[in-house]
Amino acid sequence: MKQIGLIWFLLAGLALSAEEIEKLPEIIVQEDSESTAVEMDKSAVIPTLRLPKERIEQKNAPTLSEAVAGESGVDAQTSCATCGSKRVTVNGLRGEHTTILVDGVPLHSAVSSFYGVDAVPMSGVESIEISRGSGASLIAPEAIGGVLNIITETPRKNEVDLALSSGTSQNWLLTGAASDTKLFKNTRLFISGQWNRQGYWDANKSGVWDVDKNGVSDAPFFSNAGILSKVIFDLGSRDNLELRYAWQNVSILGGTTDGTKPSSYLAIVDLPKFQDNNVEKPYLDSQIKISDVVGLERQEAVARWRHRVGDSAQLQSTSSVAWQNQDSIYFHGYDYRNRDLLAFQEVRFSTPVSMDHILTLGTDGRWEDMRSFSDKLYGIKKLAPDDFNFRNAALFLQDTWQIGLDHELNVAGRLDYLHVTWPYQQDGQRTVEKVLASPRLFWKWNQSQEWIGRLSYGRGYRAPLSFFESQHGLSENGFTIGLSEIETAHSLGVSEQLTTGPWEVNSSVYGTCLSHLAYAADPVDNFSPARFENLTNDVWVVASGVSGTYRKSGWLFELALEDFRLPQVYKKLLPVAATEQRARIRAEKKLGSWEVSLAANITGPRNLSDYGYNHHFVNYESVDSGLGPVEVLKDRKNQMAPLFATLDVGTSFQPTRELEIALNVFNVTDFTQTGWGDSPLTWNQHGSDPAHFHLDNLHVWGPLRGRVFMFSLKAQM
């Protein structure tokens, strides 16, 4: 059988060539046809959901935040409709409490949690593992909410994958990947690349999301690009060396509808003019006054060496470094740039010590320095930079204990030394130093052929590092550090998994007790800086859910219900309204070479006042005070987010194994919060003074982008 592939379309200038004719028949291992299912790994003692590549591709997700949005336990929110800042949360905790690993390596920190999650391209990603609760990762104890572990592709065969997706509203996604196992002896190579764009300021504004046509965009223009390269050297039967390098870039331009890009900060920040001073009516002022521009570039380098010791022990050493540069100008009147360097080193040794026990002993260290720059904030306003130095060294020990056939226990402990310094903070606390012990326990009980029960307990911590972006746009007077404690958390999770015939049902409850939560207290007046303090009371966050999956005869049905219980004091400190109740319905059917799919996400109603949205106003009026007209906020923005649903449908046709054509429609009903009548634009009262307010674009509770048609072509050689 001859395999002749001639690719007849061009992707972004890449030239594709004819494949050599194979002389012998090639044995092809067909992957599971229902591979879009998000599954709980039955064999794992740590409850881990696996989001496969096929599901990521089905979503046409170009970024990490879009890939995991709506998955069990995970919420991906836009916290600012102009700057596009994202918060990816697990178990209802904050975005800073989500740890992002890449192949188990911590390459992200709080600094990258705002824009860096959108820099991570999905090309070259094999799957994403979602682990919930504190202590979900042995080497990432700051995962108070949970861990998203991005697993990159491992080259197993010679292959080239190319995909082009083009959609309405100026959406483009180009991806390519190539793997080779035969170019060099005992060496496997993998390289992938991605370019993505969402929206563009074309002449007829087809790429602009301005649903109410008031002249201010509801969602920013966005693009990201990335390259991943991986080399694995199989050095004999005992050694394996993996080298990985990645480059990522993201560009965001928000607020403007005509592509006006600020090149410098505004000298004077006044109230931009709207008709009748109403943010839901036409904008009458300069586009420069409403535009944010954010650029971010990342580079990551990882080296991992595995060495087999004796018959079954393993020594592993991992070294990594990640650089991130951010360059931004915000319409609140300032420029901000930062340079972040995060280095990590880990050595671990794993060995079975008996038939039932596998011990892992290790040590790791983390070193992070962040330096920031701002002509306006530091040069003119003389505010103290939010630079920090973070040092962490730890020892860890883990015992995986197989107790008979039905019980497996994973017990681990970490001892961490933490040292955080904010070198330029003069007025408040400058250093926090701690030694922390973080135990964790995972117990898996095979109760029967069909039932698996799991119990998890973990302690996590987080050193509050970065604040400027935490208080993005609100701390025009800077901040002081009044922290004396590291954030700590205890998390308890109980889950049950039932597998019977075509059915799989998972149910879980996770409770997290968060102590010393860091937050920004309101400044005492309009000139004082925000003061970051530790909350004195503990906060309990409970996330529960049940999901059922049915797979048979080419059908896949999935139904999931989730509930997140957030205390009032905690809601007030969140940057954006969180999801509280959610339902997910998915159906897929394979019909020969065709596949059709449908996915609906339903978000429950919320009282937005709980999240401080009672400081959001639609308009203001001039009231004569006897000493001239005074601007007074008048009508509040909508305070009740309704129940809403979004629906995605898709179909794909695979005429040959190498070619796939797909058409997807995302947000079929074209639901946006602006279309519903409540745009993200608001006059935002700062602090307790009603006379102190600014324009903001953070009244966010629902989708900001409407219906998008995406046509895709995928080829594999």
């Binding site: 004077i268 003389k382 025009e476």
Partner: protein, 161 residues
């Protein structure tokens, strides 16, 4: 050789001027009527201060000098130079010169900067032709890049400066 008569005339002139100034000072000290053409000789000198409250915090306006100028219509225009306690990190209005607002009916003294929207308005308890018995003032001023709007009310004159 000096002309003695001219010298004597000069001395008389200077003496009368000094007496005029001293006499003016005495008159001010005796009654509440403002004395015009009063000047201070250093930037930190002031002769009147009024304190009030702004959302629980004290605030004040300081009077440095006041005078009348002849306008082109042969009417005299009252002017008063003041400064306020509203300043931060070296940012503030500093000293500004107020005149009576045309539509203030003799009760509002104001200064405005049409370039950037800054202004200072002082409200008097009753119509007057000088700064007399202010009850409140409102200030709009730029702190680096933001306009701040504040009102200081319940003004009372500070005695025993």
């Amino acid at each position: 050789m000096l002309n003695l008569k001219k010298e004597q005339a000069l001395v008389h002139l200077i003496t009368r001027f000094v007496l005029l100034v001293l006499g003016a000072s005495l008159i001010e000290g005796c009654g509440n009527e403002p004395v015009l053409n009063r000047m201070v000789t250093s930037l930190n000198d002031f002769y009147a201060k009024y304190e009030g409250m702004d959302k629980g915090k004290s605030c004040s306006v300081i009077v440095h000098r006041e005078w009348k100028e002849n306008s082109s219509e042969s009417k005299s225009v009252y002017r008063v130079e003041v400064s306020t306690s509203y300043e931060h990190q070296g940012q503030g209005l500093g000293k500004v010169i107020l005149t009576f607002a045309p539509t203030g009916q003799g009760k509002i003294l104001e200064w405005t900067n049409p370039q950037n929207g800054e202004f200072l308005r002082i409200q008097l308890s009753a119509a007057s032709d000088t700064l007399l018995d202010p009850v409140a003032f409102r200030i709009k001023w730029i702190h680096f890049d933001h306009l701040h709007d504040a009102t200081c009310s319940q003004l009372k004159k500070v005695e025993n400066l």
